[in-house]
């Protein structure tokens, strides 16, 4: 699995992804780890099929006992179905995740890790000298959903927001925003159900100082592309149920 430092100053942000050993048929995902003086914090640790690659990659940077916190933006399997294995590996860690998914996420196996419920309005977490914010991103796409904002590094880990569906091995950062739109348009229109929630999120994020917007699939946005993304997303109609496509009376017979 490829590991790249996207911020390396007072603390570090490492992005993991573009795994060449990934089994076929599963969507490519970006995982992130933040390393402060005494802690390591894994954001959206990924699916069960990625666990061994993730564990080996993480150990290049930190020993196991430094990993104290995990974060799950929402309940999807590509986000956190590896939980049962992390639970065996890091029995003393804490999982920060939306309150409303606790009873669901625990189905992945959570006997040892302490589940810390994130309230709807958001929360903060201080690890050494860095204070992180859990920014509400409900209905984008999950009805209980958070982003993680690091005001020092000016990075917003945006979960599924900003995600794109593209070929394995794509570059790390968006290099041509106009071309990139075609790779993310369908994803946002189909996966995101609410224009109201989307606009509230855009307004919330515009107030933050963001240099890197780091989604869970596809490329990251940096500098002016962050603003371009917010403008594009704001003007996009999402949650469309098109007559004749999703609402057709005609049923397809499966075998």
């Amino acid at each position: 699995m490829k590991a790249t430092a996207i911020y390396d100053k007072s603390h570090r942000w490492i992005m993991f992804g573009r795994d060449p050993d990934k089994v076929g048929g599963i969507i490519d995902t970006n995982q992130y780890m933040i390393i402060t003086r005494n802690h390591a914090f894994i954001l959206d640790p990924g699916g069960i099929e990625l666990f061994s690659s993730m564990l080996a990659s993480i150990l290049h940077f930190v020993p196991l006992d430094k990993i104290t916190h995990l974060f799950a933006s929402h309940q999807d399997p590509d986000i956190i179905s590896s939980l049962g294995l992390w639970d065996q590996t890091l029995p003393n860690a804490k999982l920060m995740a939306p309150w409303m998914w606790e009873g669901f996420i625990r189905h992945f196996g959570c006997e040892n890790i302490h589940y810390v419920s994130l309230p709807d309005q958001g929360a903060t977490l201080r690890l050494d000298e860095v204070e992180f914010e859990f920014v509400p991103a409900h209905y984008l796409h999950s009805s209980g959903n958070f982003n993680v904002y690091d005001p020092q590094a000016r990075i917003l880990m945006s979960g599924d927001i900003g995600s794109a569906l593209e070929k394995d091995g794509s570059p790390l950062f968006v290099d041509n925003f106009k071309e990139h739109v075609s790779k993310m348009q369908l994803f946002h229109q189909r996966w995101m159900p609410s224009n109201t929630a989307k606009n509230a999120w855009v307004e919330r994020v515009r107030k933050l100082d963001v240099d890197i917007l780091a989604p869970q699939h596809g490329r990251l946005f940096q500098g002016d592309d962050v603003k371009r993304f917010l403008d594009w997303f704001e003007s996009l109609e999402v949650g469309l149920a098109k007559e004749g496509e999703y609402m057709s009376e005609k049923k397809i017979e499966l075998t």
Partner: protein, 204 residues
């Protein structure tokens, strides 16, 4: 059951080893660079460094070999971690099926579960054998690296002697010998540490 970090599971040990030995790769790459530098100095030093040439050739060769070996070790360690996790999942599935079997009284259901249990048992045996095979490969590769590092240390001792005859270039060649010796010691120490780790943990 939770993993005890004092006595970690096999998949954790393998992942730790893969990460730890990757650092040996960086050391081997440094040796390769040092060999290239020594070669360049050797050309400048001309006749005075004649005795040093076979040493720089050896360094270059051993660095390249070590890089290849460490990459292979890394792959074996990752394979051990991956298959151990698969086996752990199969073990869990087996326990759950067994639990269900105990709770059903119906013969037909019990027989159908028996088929599933046999299939999972076979899978567990195959996974166990696969881990053992990767482990044997890994141990053999660790042996190979250790042998090479012993050779490097004895060549480093000869290099120190040869450096005496290189006149003004002596400090450069002494530094090359030092780099070689330190690198060999670092790599050997990592190899031994990881071997001990694998020997101490039991594959269940």
């Amino acid at each position: 059951m939770a993993a005890d970090l004092e006595n970690p599971d096999f998949y954790v040990v393998a992942a730790v080893a893969a990460a730890d030995l990757s650092a040996a790769l960086e050391v081997a790459e440094d040796v390769s660079l040092a060999a290239a530098n020594a070669n360049a100095i050797g050309h400048r030093a001309g006749e005075a460094a004649r005795g040093f040439r076979p040493i720089t050739d050896f360094m270059d060769e051993v660095a390249r070999d070590t890089i290849r070996l460490v990459r292979d070790i890394n792959q074996e360690a990752l394979a051990i971690s991956r298959v151990s996790i698969r086996k752990m999942r199969s073990d869990t599935a087996w326990l759950r099926f067994e639990n269900v079997k105990k709770r059903v009284n119906n013969d037909t259901t019990s027989r159908s579960l028996e088929t599933v249990l046999e299939r999972v048992s076979l899978m567990i045996r195959e996974e166990h054998q696969l881990v053992e095979r990767h482990l044997r490969n890994l141990m053999a590769l660790l042996d190979e690296v250790e042998l090479r590092m012993r050779a490097v240390r004895s060549v480093a001792a000869s290099a120190r002697v040869e450096a005496i005859h290189t006149g003004d270039y002596r400090p450069h060649f002494e530094s090359v010998a030092e780099t070689m010796d330190n690198a060999a010691e670092i790599i050997r120490e990592r190899v031994l540490r990881n071997r001990r780790m694998f020997e101490q943990v039991e594959l269940r």
